[in-house]
């Protein structure tokens, strides 16, 4: 039987290896795109938590965090002040007194602004689309202090804050950590909803802190199934699989205990039903998963968890009977019944409408998206431009988005951002939309207008794949000189492969002598520098930042850089995304060191034998320093890994939080 099953599965063929697929490979290569392949196995991760001690340590850690809440104050510096709330453990809707000791950059103002991101118990994870508000203005109170009263809105359970000047040009975000308030219960304990919203706010911002919060929730609210379901989610993502195998045993035992307690109880909330189902699913207990799925769909059919399951069942059936039209009708009915109960219903409805290629359905599901979030329009507009019947409407929406980006809107400005930083981000978004609009115009036959729009998109910023693509269109429409200018930009980026760089001249199809090409390349180098420096920041570092070298020895950061352009990489072997990037980081470091660029990699732990063994197992040979005194994290205002910085020869941070691929060009711009 097993052989037969194996043969049947082995006979499942994937998609055809078509010429179109190969053409896409060619296109990506011609754009100079890079993919770093995982050519080595990951080394097993040493779990930070020993399973046997995990439960006791969990409770101890939770209690410690609770006692220490909020985090210990940081030293006030030139840019970083100190914000305190009285009470620091407010109840919902309570008025708190806010005191702010301003740093030198904000002292002496006649008032400063306290901005906030408020979260209610129903807000979702990640901060995309969250609004920021002015919570209050803080007035001078002598001795360099500012004060105000702030009444928390009744529905708010968690809030984060930053302070800035009236123009939004100087922002104190507590070194990107922000300040926070959690609503507490009568016993002075942060409420379950407050902690859950803290997890949601940290999602994507800092996984390690999110995991710490999940552990705290489990310690403070062990009777709630959601605590353990969420904790397991973080364990999977932060600790990795090697820890999970042993942790799963404890989770299965806990699931059984919850099941024994709740299975016969009649009146359970939709959340309890949903989390029991998800917990059983996550620990691979198929019998209990089936039991709780059935109760969930029977007793709370319009709840978010059930709606997601029902939508999945509809699409799974469509996969089987290949009837997308019927699936779309069912998803429409589910929407009529439950509305925007779960984001995945929107995703499935939208995807199914796209597959059916029914423009009326596409418009209908777009309207559903807008009902949930009226600002979610760019991807909808882009999708519309791909459907001939909706292309004009798509272009109209893109133009509306462009107009929206022309005006200052502080609600969408993240708390950590200055107005200037938001302007740079808006400019990048504007370029993205111009590319969509330009492509749509070309597709509709208005090649000249499309090319003009694409030309606007490549006027600023640094996107070599786009430069190459627009260059090709320019050349094909007879603008060889314009095409060559863009190809020059593509060619001078240090990450462009040599063979790709040498081939760009051939794209034009016209003879070009070496001297003319050399002139274009020289001009392009200056242009690259100008464009990248327009995206740069200037942030001085404190003079004496200590790091821990092997053997526990303290070294000064500036003794490692010695006036050279320096790439600084903060990483952690306990952070999945950071660990994934280590091989690519190692390759980049080897390349940069050949160019005489200093590289300092800083990890979030002591430089121990255990760490050295990890580095050896991963075949990582670059020098590693530990942030034993947290001085580097504070100096760079970095919180969460991986994060990368490029520091110029004067020791000033010029590029921050950039992706690895951009670093060679940023280094070149500073040299």
């Amino acid at each position: 039987m097993m052989d037969h099953l194996r043969d049947r599965i082995a006979a499942l063929q994937g998609p055809e290896a078509t010429g179109a697929l190969l053409a896409r490979v060619h296109e990506r290569l011609s754009r100079g795109e890079h993919v770093i392949l995982p050519v080595a196995d990951p080394a097993p991760t040493a779990a930070r938590w020993r399973p046997g001690a995990a439960a006791a340590a969990l409770i101890a850690a939770g209690i410690t965090l609770w006692v220490l809440w909020p985090a210990a104050p940081l030293t006030a510096g030139d840019r970083q002040g100190e914000l305190t709330f009285t009470s620091a453990t407010p109840r919902a809707g309570e008025t708190v007194q806010v005191t702010y000791r301003a740093p030198a950059t904000l002292a002496g103002r006649d008032r400063v602004v306290l901005r906030a991101r408020y979260r209610t118990s129903r807000d979702e994870s990640y901060n995309d689309g969250m609004r920021q508000v002015v919570a209050t203005e803080l007035m001078p109170a002598g001795d360099g202090l500012f004060r105000a009263s702030l009444r928390l809105p009744d529905s708010v359970v968690y809030a984060v804050f930053a302070v800035e000047d009236l123009d939004g040009r100087i922002v104190d975000s507590n070194g990107h950590r922000l300040w926070e308030l959690l609503v507490h219960d009568r016993g002075g304990r942060p409420t379950f909803d407050a902690l859950t919203q803290r997890e949601n706010d940290l999602m994507g911002r800092n996984w390690e802190q999110g995991y710490e919060t999940a552990r705290q929730v489990a310690a403070l609210y062990p009777d709630r199934i959601a605590s353990w379901s969420n904790l397991l989610f973080y364990e999977k993502n932060v600790l990795g699989e090697s820890h999970l195998d042993s942790a799963l045993t404890a989770h299965r035992a806990r699931l059984k205990a919850f099941h024994d307690r709740l299975a016969q109880r009649a009146a359970l909330t939709a959340d309890e039903l949903g989390y029991m189902f998800w917990y059983a699913l996550a620990v691979h207990d198929t019998v209990r998963e089936s039991f709780w799925r059935s109760r969930l769909e029977r007793e709370a059919p319009a709840s978010p968890f059930a709606v997601q399951n029902r939508a999945l069942a509809i699409t799974a059936r469509a996969w089987k009977d290949k009837d997308s039209v019927r699936a779309l009708a069912d998803l429409d009915r589910l929407w009529d019944e439950a509305g925007p109960a779960h984001g995945n219903l929107l995703v499935m409805g939208w995807q199914t409408a796209r597959r059916v290629a029914d423009s009326a359905a596409l418009v209908r599901w777009a309207e559903h998206w807008w009902q949930k979030d009226p600002r979610d329009s760019t991807f909808i507009a882009d999708a519309f431009t791909k459907v001939p019947a909706l292309r004009e409407e798509g272009m109209r929406l893109l133009r509306l988005d462009l107009r929206g980006l022309e005006t200052r809107n502080d609600a969408r400005r993240a708390l950590e951002r200055t107005v200037e930083e938001q302007r740079v981000a808006d400019a990048a978004k504007t370029r993205e939309i111009l590319v969509m609009l330009g492509d749509a115009l070309v597709a509709s036959g208005r090649t000249r207008a499309g090319l003009d729009t694409l030309t606007l998109a490549v006027r600023e910023g640094w996107d070599i794949a786009l430069f190459r693509r627009v260059a090709r269109i320019k050349v094909s429409t007879g603008d060889t000189a314009g095409g060559l200018r863009l190809l020059g930009l593509f060619a001078v980026d240090p990450s462009t492969e040599t063979w790709s760089r040498d081939s760009v001249r051939r794209v034009t199809g016209v003879p070009l002598d070496s001297a003319a090409w050399a002139r274009i390349v020289n001009e392009s180098r200056d242009e690259m520098r100008r464009r990248l420096l327009a995206l740069a920041v200037r942030r001085a570092l404190p003079p004496a930042v200590r790091l821990e070298a092997a053997g526990g020895r303290a070294v000064r950061f500036d003794s490692l850089t010695r006036g050279r352009v320096t790439v600084v990489a903060f990483w952690s072997r306990f952070c999945g995304p950071s660990k994934e990037e280590l091989p690519a980081l190692a390759r980049l470091i080897a390349r940069l060191q050949q160019q005489g660029v200093a590289v300092v990699t800083i990890t979030d732990e002591r430089v121990s034998d255990d760490l050295q063994q990890f580095l050896a197992a991963q075949q990582l040979t670059f020098p590693v320093y530990g942030d034993a005194w947290r001085e580097a994290s504070r100096a760079f205002s970095q919180w969460g890994t991986p994060s990368y910085f490029v520091v110029d020869g004067d020791g000033v941070v010029r590029f921050q939080y950039r992706d690895l691929n951009r670093i060679p060009a940023e280094v070149a711009a500073l040299q």
Binding site: M2, A10, G14, P15, L21, V39, D41, E580
Partner: protein, 169 residues
């Protein structure tokens, strides 16, 4: 090989024609999604010219390509889980096309559905061991788990598959 390393497109095309179909199958069986399988194989061939510079030419190139494809698929699945994404493609994308499903097609849908309903951790071990022919030790290294864990997962996967297929082979 030398031509491939310098980005010679003809050499890359020849390699694509020889191996792409089998690699698409590997990626598809692991991810359960045609779209993801195509993305993975695209990524593989885009990254090959550079990666081959570090390929030591020990062992068969086909086996090396297959292992890199497996790693790409695993990376993608891990990222999907981290974003809490439902593997939507696997449930939706098979809806296009004609509706005259034959008995053989029905059986295939059933089988694919049973595989898709397996948790990723079990399905991956099953595919790597039973279909792709990796040893438990190799699977352990690929997934960062112990050999014994791989064995346990295989056992659970087979049990779950038999259950999902109603005891039918």
């Amino acid at each position: 090989m030398e031509r491939l390393r310098t980005g010679d497109l003809e050499a890359l095309d020849a390699l694509f024609h020889r191996h792409a179909r089998a690699l698409l199958g590997v990626a598809y069986r692991l991810t359960g999604s045609s779209a993801e399988a195509e993305d993975i194989v695209q990524d593989l061939f885009v990254g090959l010219p550079v990666a081959l510079r570090r390929y030591a030419e020990q062992g068969a190139l086909g086996a090396w390509l297959r292992t890199v494809t497996v790693r790409l698929a695993l990376d993608r699945m891990r990222r999907r889980e981290r974003r809490r994404e439902v593997p939507l493609d696997s449930t939706v994308e098979r809806t296009a096309g004609d509706s005259s499903a034959t008995g053989a097609m029905e059986a295939r849908w059933e089988l694919e559905r049973a595989l898709a309903l397996l948790p990723d951790a079990l399905r991956v071990v099953f595919m790597l061991k039973e279909v792709e022919g990796y040893s438990h030790a190799e699977i352990g290294r690929l997934l960062g788990i112990r050999t014994g864990t791989s064995e346990v997962r295989l056992h659970r996967a087979i049990k779950a598959l038999r259950g999902a297929l109603g005891g039918q082979p």
